[in-house]
Symmetry: C2
Subunit: 197 residues, 2 copies
């Protein structure tokens, strides 16, 4: 097996990743509030196997969506108002890895820390820094939450492409939706007023 | 037809409802970010017809879920730590109406205003006031977002109960998920730091 190419800015498990302010106990309670169970974990592993060789096609759908909504594409534009191809491409590589991490990583302290890093990279705290770009300085909370819907819904046909039964596809999809909502809740942390999160 | 019983605290379209700080243009952009289309509106109308006589059963599932998660039920408890039945019941009536409003109301200024009222009633700004109770003073943002998952997922079997084709059920369900995520994004407003929403 060739070594996979390192992904620039992918700080998972490294000292560059932020340290999450969220405790393990808070994470467990949040998982319960989402309805996330050990069965969902198992179906996410299966979803990872189903999605592994479809990552580019999934990203094409998501990038097609964002590219078709000018006020979303805006967050990838430079001072001249034009989309920044190198920024789009750098985020895309990490986004692909994020799909696999969502399916395969244990949701432990390292994972929690990297979720916080992702949160900060959308918030004005740290947006643009990883890739050294001059794009708009902040992705609003409302769009962070809104994107849960296309990310949750558009994965379904990809889960159905490898001959699993309707019931298995449904269970993989439910696990995916829960995992995405769980992460959106974690990513909202830097946006909330003191004590409101 | 008998007049329906008025629902205490249901301030939709009344001067008691808050005025939303969110503009019509922001709402339209948010709908686009969720991927919400006129087709979704049509499928929501159909979902309303499908759900109309199943509201109590849906609420039983949701209340069963919240009741089974102590740190969620907590937000309905009184100073002695016990759940407040009258509070649970008052919220339940409005929750049932919310299902129908989600499916049938036009997403206009009145609707936007009432979404803001709902937001404030979860946030410390206004929680407990409508029902005059002494429950915990604030539902955290993370749980508001987390509940998107069970609310989005558990409606599916109810949509499938009236003999519609798999494709129609899927389209009603997608419209429902988008509508729920859209509202969660609106409800997050009072939680966000100045300029972060």
């Amino acid at each position: 097996m060739p070594m996979p190419m390192p992904i620039p800015g992918y700080a998972y498990g490294t000292p560059e990743a932020a340290r999450s302010p969220i405790t393990g106990e808070e994470l467990e309670k949040l998982k319960a509030a989402v309805g996330f169970t050990p069965e969902d974990e198992r179906y996410l592993r299966r979803a990872g196997d189903v999605l592994e060789d479809q990552i580019d096609e999934v990203l094409d759908v998501w990038y097609g969506f964002v590219g078709s909504v000018p006020h979303l594409l805006y967050y990838f534009t430079g001072p001249d108002g034009q989309p920044l191809p190198s920024y789009l491409e750098a985020v895309r590589k990490r986004f692909g890895q994020w799909i696999l991490d969502t399916c395969r990583r244990p949701y432990d302290q390292q994972w929690l820390d990297y979720q916080h890093e992702i949160a900060l990279r959308h918030h004005r705290t740290k947006k643009n820094r990883t890739d050294g770009v001059q794009a708009p300085e902040h992705v609003p909370l409302r769009y962070l939450i809104a994107l849960t819907a296309p990310i949750a819904l558009t994965i379904q046909p990809f889960l159905a492409k490898k001959g699993h039964s309707d019931e298995e596809v449904e269970k993989m999809h439910q696990a995916w939706v829960k995992a995405v909502v769980l992460q959106t809740a974690l990513w909202s942390y830097p946006y909330a007023k003191e004590g409101d999160w």
